[in-house]
Amino acid sequence: MINLFNYIDRPSRIHRLTGACKLICLITWSLAAMTSFYTPLLLAMTVLSFILFHAAKLRVKDISFMLGLMAAYIVLNNVLIFLFSPDHGTSIYGTETVLIKLFGPYAITAEQLFYHLNVILKTGCTIPIVLLFVCTTNPSEFAASLNRVGVSYKISYAVALALRYIPDIQREYRDISLAQQARGTEMSKKASLVKRLKAASAILIPLILSSMERIETISNAMELRGFGKGAKRTWYSGRKFSKLDLVSIAACTALMLLSFLITFLNGSRYFNPFI
């Protein structure tokens, strides 16, 4: 079974940061990376993100599935950019240095390659931080931290519960699917598309029905214990910010401001080595 939202418990400073702090850092960090195409900054952030990743004592094999997804995303993204706008780099940087002439409008230019490098760096410095947040934030703290940054507690709790039920539902899906296969529902590629769609509905209907039962029970249990009566609630796993939390938030906010400042001083979001 693939664990998408997998908390990996290891003793590290990053694990010890509060969930809310990590969420704020994630948001500011992503804003810094998203708004800028300033290559030296992106490069520095990418290096830093890998250092932080290492500091959290995470190993590549822990997240190999997620890394695979990330690689696929980067490749697909870049291929599509090149296919649909092969001279995007030229229009941004204002020069055209053709390296290899291909067919039709397609040519590999230095500007386009540099643009792609920037796109890859942007993804490369954001995704490790997202993974870092997901893998080092105790799920118990997840809802509390969402609530702390201003999301309503009902929504925060709903998100946390949904994440928690993913493994249960995966397991149930498997059980139902096996029982259906035993009755001869064919789900492999041997069956036609129409048959496979029918087979999928044979699993989804029972899955939805039994999930509804589950939802009814849990929402009753929650209401019976007073969930939703007040405008606010406290959290058992909520923690006060430590010094390290404050320092981290300050650092990430500074990074975001730096990114904005560079854009402002530079007069453009792009770092241009071609002029």
Binding site: S140, A160, P206
Partner: protein, 569 residues
């Protein structure tokens, strides 16, 4: 009784918005502070609705109209609402898994406190205190799947005791527990009540199990009315429970069969204090001697043979350790054991849902490992516990026909076979009904029919009677028994002691991935070591036979069960 009234129904009635008839009529019931009340009744009698009225789920989550008056703590429930009521009434739901809200034990206990905006530090102290009270301090940081069913129920209880509640309401607390854990739960409820002085209301149809500890009062519900409201001893002297479709304690039934006239002074509601005169004991002995010994079944040829089956889950959990078992043709066998003992894993291996790492698995001499899931299903049918997990078609006929259609059987033949199966299952009149119009028990039948239509040599059922009252239990089990008599081999995974004793001559006991016993059900329940390891419970018949000086409790049980089935059929 001059104690303060905490819950008071006065000429109370209730009708769900979605239903044509009221569910409760003219209820007059008072529950006092510190009282322990059992509310018993068959499914659909209104006992759950009654509970929902007390905790506010009615009309909060299940809308409807109330008539008459219901007050809790002196205040009208409609003014209090579900949140107001939660201050006075703590509810422990039936499904101890489903009601686990927090991600860890500590968070789950803290849930109500969080909603009350208690500051975090104070909350940690309060959770510690409660954890000590319900004895889960060791597992505070554990996730729900890391603790046992009994612990889950302790957590559930802890979660509603964080506030100073006056009433603890248990909605079918025994439904999802194995027999030994159920016994512990009843002891726990008793202790908590003595310590806190709360009023305790237990909604349950398993009367004998609740009476493992004394209760002050029993309320019997039937068809939306209160049928009895009084002390348990008087109730057991009458025949009201069986008349209302509720199983009375086995020892009480046995005494009645033996012709012993019960009186409240004999204290029939609490076995340790039951007193019988010498004449009465003699009557039980004489009855035992008169009963014919049930015949033992002849050895039959082997249908399924499992030898040294070993299975480890991907995560490293070693679930089956060298399982040896045989199922004989035409047998009805139960597989029992605690949760996690390996009984479900074993059935998955047999059906091909999981593949054993080593061992031999043969059906009628054919190596099962060479067959796919679908091919095995032609020989072995598997019925899941929850029918809603199996039913995928909207019409009953189509649901039963699904397996045949998937096997490309001609439509003519499908019609014949489905109709024949529906007749056997007593579902023929409903063949064109939508599945959604059926009751839980009928849906269970539909799932059994949908397996039976494939004509398997053996069917394997996971907890076929979980959560069913005596009437539905008898219906399902008699139906399976009939099938068995027609030659279908039936294997049941269960932790219901009655089921095992009554219907299956042989029981295979699993414990920690091994088979620790394979003998008659009566023998299993008479071996204290096995009873303890497999979390089973000896029946009260053993105590009765000991009390009457009958030396062979096993034979006493067998004769009683045989007699009881004759009487009930």
């Amino acid at each position: 009784m001059d104690r303060e009234v905490i819950v008071s129904f006065e000429d109370f009635g209730f009708q769900y918005t979605a239903q044509a008839e009221p569910t409760l009529y003219h209820i007059n019931l008072k529950i006092h502070k510190g009282e322990k009340v059992l509310i018993a009744g068959p499914s659909g009698c209104g006992k759950s609705t009654l509970a929902h009225c007390i905790n506010g789920l009615v009309p909060g989550s299940y809308p409807g109209t109330m008539t008459g008056s219901l007050t809790v703590g002196g205040k009208n429930v409609q003014e209090l609402g579900i949140f107001g009521l939660s201050k006075t009434v703590g509810t422990v739901l039936q499904d101890s898994d489903g009601q686990f809200i927090g991600l860890t034990v500590a968070e789950d206990i803290a849930f109500a406190l969080e909603n009350d905006c208690m500051p975090t530090e104070e909350m940690h102290k309060e959770v510690e205190r409660i954890a000590e009270l319900v004895d889960v301090k060791e597992v505070l940081k554990h996730a729900p799947h890391e603790i046992s069913g009994g612990q889950k129920q302790r957590v559930g209880l802890g979660g509603v005791m964080v506030g100073p509640v006056d009433v603890l309401l248990f909605d079918e607390p025994l439904a999802n527990l194995d027999p030994a854990t159920g016994k512990q739960a009843i002891v726990l409820i008793d202790e908590i009540q003595k310590r806190t002085g709360c009023a305790v209301i237990i909604i349950e149809h398993r009367v004998e199990d609740v009476l493992y500890r004394p209760v002050d009062r029993v309320v019997v519900m039937g068809d939306g009315h209160i049928q009895y409201d009084g002390d348990p001893d008087t109730l057991l002297c009458s025949d009201l429970l069986p008349q209302k479709g509720i199983r009375e304690p086995l020892y009480v039934t046995a005494l009645k069969y033996a012709g012993v006239a019960l009186t409240p002074e004999m204290r029939p509601s609490y076995l340790p204090e039951l007193s019988l005169s010498d004449v009465q004991k003699e009557a039980v002995r004489a009855w035992f001697d008169r009963l014919p010994a049930p015949e033992t079944l002849p050895e039959r040829e082997i249908l399924l043979r499992a030898e040294k089956i070993d299975f480890t889950y991907e995560g490293g959990h070693h679930a089956l350790r060298g399982i040896d078992a045989v199922i004989r043709k035409g047998e009805m066998v139960s597989i029992v054991g605690t949760n996690g003992a390996g009984k479900s894993t074993f059935s998955k291996v047999v059906c091909g849902f999981e593949k054993a790492q080593s061992g031999v698995l043969e059906l009628g001499g054919v190596d099962l490992n060479t067959l796919s899931i679908k091919e095995r299903a032609d020989h072995i049918g598997y019925v899941m516990q929850n029918p809603n997990q199996m039913i995928s078609q909207t019409k009953i006929f189509d649901e039963v026909a699904l397996g045949l259609r998937n096997r490309n059987v001609p439509e003519e033949e499908i019609r014949d076979r489905v109709e024949k199966t529906l007749k056997i299952c007593g579902l023929y009149p409903f063949r064109n009904w939508p599945v959604s119009a059926l009751s839980y028990g009928q849906r269970k039948r539909v799932t059994i029919a949908s397996i039976l239509v494939l004509d398997p040599e053996m069917i394997l059922l996971d907890e076929p009677t979980a959560g069913q009252d005596l009437k539905h239990y008898t219906e399902i089990m008699d139906f399976l028994n009939e099938l068995n008599q027609q030659g279908v081999t039936v294997v049941l995974i269960t932790h219901d002691m009655h089921l095992m004793l009554e219907y299956t001559p042989r029981a295979i006991v699993f414990h920690a991935g091994e088979v620790i016993a394979d003998k008659t059900a009566a023998e299993v329940l008479n071996t204290p070591d096995i009873v303890e390891r497999a979390h089973l419970k000896e029946t009260s018949l053993y105590h009765l036979s000991a009390l009457c000086g009958i030396g062979d409790p096993e034979e006493f049980t067998r004769r009683f069960i045989a007699r009881d089935r004759e009487v009930r059929i």
